[in-house]
């Protein structure tokens, strides 16, 4: 566990210093929320009805930037080689990177939740299912993103290809998280806990695949 915490703490410390996510990614997320509002003509009823989907599309967009930043930290320092030389198991590096991305995404989601309450006049009627669904979805996004982020580095065109690689993989997460939020926000009569459970399974699958495959993709990074 020490190595996992070391990697996660390092990434979070770098973010606290550089404030890239706080000063660039988070404002981007809020701008997307506002643009959705403008596109839907500020119709509060429509906005409230579509809040779950708009929320998670915004999270997916911002997750791309957060993951690119997580990878860039290593690329700028040419540290992927040093990580390979560290002698620690690649899955521990993966877990640390995914944990750091998860923490940052959760912080963004909290701000976005406040954003939809303020901008869209939405309210969380069942916050428990929304929180569990969000947590599972975040772990799934961070797991898939940490793996595909390094994969894109090996491909040599990381800035452009990552969304094309990652977004299709995250489509099931988008669907599940939107349904769980439908229940959480009371915008549709669905079994939110079932969707939250499904998201948990997806998170475990993506996490397991990421941990198993990370060593292979790290070799090409």
């Amino acid at each position: 566990m020490r190595e996992i915490w070391a990697v996660a703490e390092k990434d979070l410390r770098i973010e606290l210093r550089s404030r890239i996510v706080a000063s660039q990614v988070l404002p981007f997320a809020l701008i997307v929320l506002i643009l959705f509002g403008l596109a839907l003509d500020a119709d509060k009823a429509t906005l409230r009805a579509f809040t779950p989907g708009l929320f998670w599309i915004t999270v997916l967009f911002t997750s791309i930037l957060t993951i690119q930043r997580s990878v860039a930290v290593e690329v700028e320092s040419e540290a992927f080689e040093s990580l390979r030389l560290a002698g620690t198991a690649p899955w521990r590096i993966f877990a640390g990177k995914a944990l750091a991305v998860s923490v940052q995404l959760i912080a963004i989601e909290v701000v976005l939740a406040v954003g939809v309450i303020v901008l869209y006049r939405s309210s969380f009627e069942a916050p428990g299912v929304a929180a569990v669904g969000a947590l599972s979805a975040t772990v799934a996004i961070a797991s898939a993103g940490s793996l595909y982020g390094v994969l894109a580095v090996g491909n040599g065109v990381r800035d452009t290809i990552l969304p094309m690689l990652l977004l299709p993989v995250l489509a099931p997460v988008l669907i599940g998280a939107t349904r769980a939020f439908d229940a959480g926000l009371g915008t549709a009569a669905v079994n939110g806990w079932a969707w939250a459970g499904l998201l948990g399974v997806v998170a475990i699958i993506y996490g397991t695949i990421g941990a198993a495959a990370y060593g292979v993709v790290l070799e090409d990074a």
Binding site: A6, R13, S77, E78, A79, R84, A86, G87
Partner: protein, 233 residues
């Protein structure tokens, strides 16, 4: 002394280009080897092969008895590679960088304070790497290698960017590491400087080690704080 490094007929292809074309090299434990040769001869590729970072297409290579292909992760845990880039996180301080690299090397002994003192990094210990000069950055990079207590030191132009004091510190560090049992390979164009330290000189050209000349051994204090980790000694 036993062979710490044994490379036989090693071929390394980089993007289809033969960077090593059948190189042979044997390095004894506790020795300092100067690796010399013109640009593009294969010095860096040989160091990267020994670090388990360059793919071995043919031949064999063993580091402290471990096969570089079959036991790659073990080999990586034993070597310390200093390359041309700093491999330090710009937004972390020197202290945070060293502590990080020590923490992700669980089998090694933690010696950050000793390393910092030895490399005279005290004044920059709590400065961010991005605020350091080129020379300070180079010293911090070397510290990040040393803190891992490698059993095999692979140094690619370690004196580059350093002032005279820094160069002397690196020389002393290399001597102490070898005296404590680590094997050191130094790829350098500063032949006069490293030849004085070296126990052997390997000349590489066209991806082949064309000559390996023994110069004599070196022995320093066995109580050096920079002794290699237990797993490799």
């Amino acid at each position: 002394m036993s062979a710490a490094i044994a490379v036989e007929q090693a071929v390394v292809l980089l993007a289809g280009f033969p960077a090593l074309t059948g190189a042979d090299l044997t390095v004894e434990q506790g020795s300092i080897t100067l690796l010399q040769g013109p640009n593009g001869a294969g010095k860096t590729t040989l160091l990267r092969l020994l670090a388990g970072l360059a793919p071995l297409s043919r031949g064999s290579a063993r580091v402290l008895g471990r096969d570089i292909v079959a036991q790659r992760r073990e080999v990586r845990g034993l070597v310390g590679l200093l390359g041309p880039s700093s491999m330090l996180y710009e937004d972390l301080t020197v202290r945070e960088n060293l502590e990080f690299w020590a923490r992700v090397n669980p089998k090694r002994t933690y010696q950050t304070d000793a390393v910092v003192e030895r490399l005279d990094l005290g004044a920059t210990f709590d400065q961010r790497v991005r605020d350091l000069s080129t020379g300070q950055r180079r010293r911090a990079s070397i510290a990040a290698v040393v803190v891992r207590r490698p059993s095999v030191w692979l140094l690619d132009e370690p004196h580059a960017g350093l002032d005279q004091q820094g160069r002397n510190i690196i020389d002393d560090l290399i001597i102490d590491a070898a005296a404590a049992g680590a094997s050191v390979i130094v790829a350098s164009h500063e032949l006069d400087r490293v030849r004085v330290l070296a126990s052997s000189v390997a000349t590489i050209a066209g991806g082949l080690v064309i000559r390996h000349e023994q110069l004599g051994g070196r022995h320093g204090s066995p109580r050096s704080p920079f002794s290699p980790g237990e797993s490799g000694a």
